[in-house]
């Protein structure tokens, strides 16, 4: 008798469980939700938490953000896992459009990269503006440098800069050059723990709360420009893409309201992103 009761209980429980799974799936299958594949910098800096509620209030469209490195975001976008891409690696984005994975790319906003390092500054960067000179100093002093090493927008930029400085980092990079293989925040944590140099986008750095003994040691070179772009994932390749809602988001972001929302986002009185959509 007890055994029958036990199995009845098990059966009822599994039915309840099944019903819940279906409910959870249904709750998320609302048509007014779009998925944006974006980068860790836009999420960690708090930008999305600031501008997305405004967008949702105006349009009723919920935006689900998946924050990964730009390289992974582009790959996920290529697989059709999302509706819109908001990333920062212009040449990779243009390649993405050229190969037909995205519809059209729009500039959205920019900020810049900065070189972060320990306050005692063993490589003596001390306010060196020229980024190529700053990198050369790091190599010369063999001071520890943490690279993202994750094919993110920041990582792509860093590798370009080593190349511009004519430093073959594969050859020269000894034990002082480390790849964290992690997001910007995690990499900053490592740099703090190791008293190492690293390159960060300014937004993530300003929002970062574990600055420990780190500070900005080189900034201001035009080469450190950091452009963000937005694009719709191609619905002709992936028919499930929410073309209408995705486009509404892109139009909003590059339009008057989105641009002023981006400009209005400040942290400790400092503006993190500068809108520059060309319209």
């Amino acid at each position: 008798m007890k055994m029958i009761l036990f199995y009845r209980l098990a059966l009822t429980m599994s039915l309840v469980v099944f019903a819940n799974v279906v409910m959870l799936a249904a709750a998320l299958a609302q048509p007014v939700t779009i998925i944006v594949q974006s980068t860790t910098s836009t999420q960690n800096s708090g930008l999305f938490d600031f501008i997305l509620p405004k967008f949702t209030a105006q349009t009723g469209i919920t935006v689900n953000v998946v924050a990964v490195g730009t390289g992974q975001a582009l790959k996920n976008g290529r697989n059709g896992d999302g509706d819109v891409l908001l990333v920062h690696a212009k040449s990779a984005e243009e390649q993405f459009i050229k190969r037909g994975f995205g519809v059209k790319r729009f500039d959205v906003m920019y900020n810049d990269f900065v070189i972060i390092g320990p306050k005692n500054d063993p490589a003596k960067l001390g306010g060196t503006v020229g980024i190529l000179a700053a990198l050369a100093k790091i190599v010369q002093s063999k001071s520890p440098f943490i690279s993202r090493g994750d094919d993110s927008g920041t990582n792509k930029k860093e590798l370009q800069l080593w190349q511009k400085a004519k430093i073959n980092i594969v050859e020269k990079g000894g034990s002082w050059y480390r790849e964290s293989g992690s997001g910007m925040g995690a990499t900053l944590n490592i740099a703090a723990g190791m008293s190492a140099y690293t390159m960060s986008d300014r937004a993530t750095w300003l929002a970062f709360k574990n600055k420990a003994g780190l500070k900005i040691l080189s900034e201001g070179d035009p080469l450190l420009f950091n452009q963000y772009g937005v694009m719709l994932i191609n619905p002709s390749k992936h028919p499930h893409v929410n073309e209408k809602e995705g486009q509404i988001f892109i139009d909003w972001l590059t339009g008057k309201e989105g641009q002023s929302a981006i400009a209005a986002y400040k942290l400790e009185g400092k503006q993190l992103f500068f809108p520059n959509a060309g319209r």
């Binding site: 469980v17 996920n76 709360k209």
Partner: protein
């Protein structure tokens, strides 16, 4: 290292004020893991029981494989589930990626080997103990399975809790297939990873403390259930 002290204060504050964002995350964490454990137990207990009762060629190979799968890195599993559920993958049409359902699927695949292997181990002992009894009654295999599962129910409860422990603490797989989306797929572990990457270490640690508290609560509830029903059995 004032973070550690601060973490307890923050954890206490968050719990006392029933912080809405926190409660949402905690609820989803518990839901996802409990559902995953329930389904894993249904599958895993059946596999474990079948392996303990039936003897067939290749049985040992299956046991070895299941034991080996217990050590599967969650990230690898997350990647496999991502590739399956991706819009370009074989199950892409279902549109399950970045939903709690995807996280449940990943956790089921993660803990079913653990539940099966531990279940087999628990039942083996009972099987040896009951062997003569089964023979004397000439029970069918199905009847044996039923009897074993019933007799071992308290041991199996612990097996379920072991599965729950692995599910609730997991981060690699659910991060990939859930996407850590705010208000949709953010759970305790992915929120901890996010706060760590923002450098808000005290808050991350506070979330960890809260995760442990809820984990203890679930374990205690199951144990209480177990001891109260044990009393009934012996009464």
């Amino acid at each position: 290292m004032e973070e550690i002290g601060n973490a307890f204060l923050i954890a206490f504050d968050l719990l006392r004020s029933r912080d809405a964002a926190l409660m949402e995350i905690v609820q989803l964490s518990l839901w996802v893991s409990i559902i995953a454990v329930a389904i894993s137990c249904i599958i895993g207990f059946f596999i474990g029981a079948a392996l303990s009762v039936y003897r067939f060629p290749g049985r040992k190979v299956i046991v070895v494989v299941i034991n080996a799968l217990m050590g599967l890195p969650p990230v690898v599993l997350g990647l496999i589930v991502y590739l399956l559920l991706s819009r370009s993958g074989p199950l892409g049409v279902l549109g399950l990626l970045y939903t709690p359902t995807a996280m449940i699927i990943a956790q089921i695949l993660l803990i079913t080997p653990l539940v099966s292997a531990l279940c087999l181990q628990v039942l083996e002992e009972f099987n040896r103990e009951y062997d003569e009894f089964f023979r004397s009654l000439r029970l069918t295999s199905l009847a044996k399975i039923k009897t074993l599962l019933w007799e071992a129910r308290f041991g199996l409860l612990t097996v379920g809790l072991a599965g729950f422990g692995r599910a609730i603490s997991e981060v690699g797989a659910v991060m990939i297939v859930g996407g850590n989306i705010n208000h949709a797929t953010r759970i305790m572990t992915t929120a901890i990873a996010l706060e760590t990457s923002k450098g808000t270490l005290a808050l991350a640690l506070a979330l960890g403390i809260i995760l442990i508290i809820f984990s203890i609560a679930v374990n205690a509830a199951v144990m209480a259930l177990r001891s109260s029903s044990k009393v009934q059995v012996h009464a």
